[in-house]
Symmetry: C2
DNA sequence: CGTGCCCTTGATGTGTTTCAAACTGGGTGG
DNA sequence: CCACCCAGTTTGAAACACATCAAGGGCACG
């Protein structure tokens, strides 16, 4: 790996290269912990399976917390909704990732969770989770790490939204999504965006037109090919460079 | 309280008024859990006391996680730092609030923690915390709530940074800080900003000049009085209205 | 009584939003 | 099977909010 100054860091760095680790820009809790294969311990807690069809809600803001969820298949978004109809997407969750961690503090969900395609989740009863965490310190540790990583993701998003220009935001988003999909067996250089430009924009603090323009610009630069929701990465290193131009 | 449509929600709503709770915009983990008086259980874990003088670091990004900290006195900021010297403030921590929760996931700190004035913290050894959490499910629960609330704060910040204009951001920040200081015994209508305009700006995704301009605008509107770092709230309801104008 | 840091204010520049129009593809019903 | 429709997308032109650049002022500190 030639770069030492500007690599996107979505997974934990190898111990040896940690000194003052550069930022992992964005990224749901990394896979070691959140992907089913690896978080097998926590997944044993899985209760009933539940399917959620495209467009419908798994839970909504204000609902009492009864269970947490792990995505089995499909894709979700979580979003905060304001009275006036506006909303902010706070995350997109792929298979193996958790939903509802933000509701533990108050016992109520703070966001809506919407399936962006037909999906299935494992239901993990909160009561049962609690009692299992009592038994196993390993599980407890895993669960704490899960929450901690979600905190880190929040901080990374603050950085992205607070100090990066539109092009960097979109490039970072594409890289992040590609890597996460790749870790689930998708090709490393092609990507299907299952969310609308509007939803991407909401997540990135941009208007849909701006997202569209950035995609077009990257297409014109020869970095990628866009046909509707299909994206082909033609020049991944260039995309990484775009994601690390820390300007505004 | 006359408003039912636009009140800033920094603490948990009373159970009766919860239905579709409107957003608590911004706010460190609310006080029930994080203030020493209330999180007494967790505070029993406090090990050594450590003082940090103004301007110096409690920990820095990349440091191995050995303990978590609870602010006893003084004020901290946490920030992510980029190679190029730029940085993003991810939070300001007052007495009773925790530092280091983001480091549990990887075992290393992901941010720098800097004292903005002479400060003192309780040191909570991570190993010891772990073993205590094993013993008491009540403590474990409290700790999980703490982390969950920090996740919620992250989401609220995404909303603030992603969809609110400068005036709303600054007004929200002032309200939040006033409330948190008030809960610690400070007057409800006066405030000392212990951070620079630049640090506020970094936290809010704005340039220092913009922060300054917004403060001046609110002063001109008769909402508050600003003399250097001292802020007098002349019209708190008006400030709340500014914080809820959800425009950009 | 300077010297340096922080803050304010003005003038100008620019990236993103807003507004508007046209295009696309997938789905539906005639 | 085609025509239509509609949600989503692209693109352009104009407006605007915030950033940038620059200058001046105040307070704290040595």
């Amino acid at each position: 790996m030639p770069v030492s100054h500007a690599s996107v860091r979505l997974v934990e760095p190898a111990p040896s290269e940690v000194e003052r680790p550069r930022l992992r820009v964005v990224g749901l809790p990394p896979l070691e912990e959140s992907h089913p294969d690896v978080a097998a311990g926590l997944l044993e807690l899985a209760g009933t399976r539940r399917t959620v069809e495209r467009g419908s809600l798994l839970y909504r803001s204000g609902d009492r917390l009864t269970s947490l969820y792990v995505v089995q298949s499909g894709l979700f978004k979580t979003c905060l909704s304001l009275e006036d109809g506006r909303s902010q997407v706070t995350g997109f969750q792929l298979s193996g990732e958790w939903l509802g961690l933000d509701s533990i503090g108050s016992g109520r969900h703070h966001s809506d969770a919407v399936a962006l395609e037909d999906a299935a989740v494992c239901t993990i009863g909160y009561e049962e989770l609690e009692s299992r965490l009592l038994e196993s310190s390993e599980l407890r540790h895993q669960f704490q790490r899960l929450m901690s990583r979600e905190i880190v993701r929040g901080h990374d998003m603050m950085l992205l939204l607070g100090s990066m220009c539109a092009e960097v935001r979109v490039a970072t988003f594409l890289l992040d999504l590609t890597q996460r999909m790749h870790a689930r067996g998708s090709p490393a250089t092609s990507l299907v965006l299952r969310m609308t430009r509007d939803e991407m924009g909401s997540f990135l603090g941009l208007k849909l037109e701006t997202v569209s323009r950035m995609l077009s610009r990257m297409r014109d630069l020869g970095v990628l090919e866009v046909t509707q929701r299909h994206v082909q990465l033609l020049d991944a290193p260039a995309l990484q460079r775009l994601a690390h131009r820390e300007e505004r």
